[in-house]
C-alpha cells in the first residue's frame, strides 16, 4: 500500500461518521465512502498536495453523498418521518401560538463555536433528528445546497421542504438548549 493510500484509508472512519449523519443509512454511507476512496485512489494526481488531504476527500465525498441521495430518492420519499404531524410545533408553542419557553436565552452563544465539545453535542443533536428532517437539514446547512436543488434531488415540494427545515431547526434548538445552553449560558 502506498503512503497516500494508507493516509486515505486512515480517514475512512471520519468520512463514515459524516456520511451516516447525512444519509441516515449505514449501507448507503458505506457505498458513498467507498466510492470516495476509490475515486481518490484512481486519481491521486488530482490531489496536488496544495490543500489538505482531508479537505480534498470531503470535497469528493459531498458529490458521492448527493449521488446516493439521488439514487435512493424513492425510498426516502416513501418513508416519511413519524412526526409529520408537527408534534414538535405543539411542544414548542402554546395552543394560542406563543412560545411556551419565552426565556430560552442563549446569552452570547458564539463562544461555544470554539469548543470541540459543543461540536460533538451539535452532531449528536443532528443525529437525533427524525431521518428526513436530518437529511434535508444537512443538505441545506452542511452541503449548502439551495432549496431548489434539495427539492429536485429528493422530489419534494418547496412547501414540504420549508416545513421540514423549520421543524428540524425547532428540534435542534430544543436539543442544543437542553444539552448545552441550559448549563452554559450567561
Amino acid at each position: 500500500m502506498t503512503d497516500l493510500a494508507r493516509q486515505i484509508e486512515e480517514l475512512r472512519p471520519q468520512l463514515m461518521r459524516f456520511a451516516r449523519t447525512q444519509l441516515r443509512n449505514d449501507a448507503w454511507a458505506e457505498d458513498a465512502v467507498s466510492d470516495t476512496l476509490l475515486a481518490a485512489l484512481e486519481k491521486p494526481q488530482a490531489f496536488a498536495g496544495a490543500s489538505q488531504l482531508k479537505t480534498w476527500l470531503v470535497g469528493i465525498l459531498k458529490h458521492k453523498l448527493i449521488d446516493q441521495l439521488r439514487r435512493h430518492t424513492r425510498e426516502i420519499a416513501s418513508s416519511p418521518d413519524a412526526d409529520d404531524d408537527g408534534a414538535i410545533e405543539d411542544l414548542v408553542f402554546h395552543p394560542d401560538g406563543h412560545f411556551r419557553d419565552r426565556g430560552m436565552d442563549w446569552g452570547n452563544p458564539e463562544s461555544a463555536l470554539s469548543e470541540r465539545e459543543f461540536l460533538v453535542v451539535l452532531q449528536t443533536c443532528v443525529d437525533r433528528l427524525p431521518a428526513t428532517q436530518a437529511r434535508v437539514f444537512m443538505m441545506r446547512e452542511w452541503l449548502e445546497l439551495d432549496a431548489k436543488e434539495i427539492c429536485k434531488e429528493l422530489d419534494l415540494s418547496a412547501t414540504n421542504l420549508w416545513v421540514l427545515l423549520h421543524r428540524a431547526r425547532l428540534r435542534l434548538r430544543e436539543c442544543l438548549h437542553a444539552n448545552w445552553f441550559a448549563g452554559h449560558a450567561g
Partner: protein, 72 residues
C-alpha cells in the same frame, strides 16, 4: 410604536407559531413583501421571535463551523 401597534395591531398581528415559520423560511427563500412587513412588525414587539431568529442564524453558523472542522 404604541400608536402604530394600536392602529395596525389587529391587522398585522400574527402568532409566534406562524412568524417563527417565516423566520425559518427566510433562510431558504426570499419572503414576499407582505410577509416581510408582517414579520418586521412582529419582531418589533416580540422578544421570543427575535431570539428564535438569532438562534436560527447561530445554528447555521455552527453547522459552518462543523463543516470547516471536518475539513481541517
Amino acid at each position: 410604536m404604541r400608536f402604530v401597534t394600536r392602529v395596525f395591531g389587529p391587522v398585522f398581528s400574527r402568532s409566534c407559531r406562524e412568524m417563527s415559520r417565516l423566520i425559518s423560511e427566510s433562510r431558504d427563500r426570499r419572503l414576499g413583501p407582505g410577509e416581510r412587513i408582517l414579520l418586521r412588525f412582529h419582531l418589533g414587539m416580540c422578544d421570543a421571535c427575535r431570539r428564535y431568529r438569532q438562534q436560527v442564524r447561530f445554528m447555521s453558523r455552527a453547522m459552518g463551523r462543523w463543516r470547516r472542522y471536518t475539513e481541517e
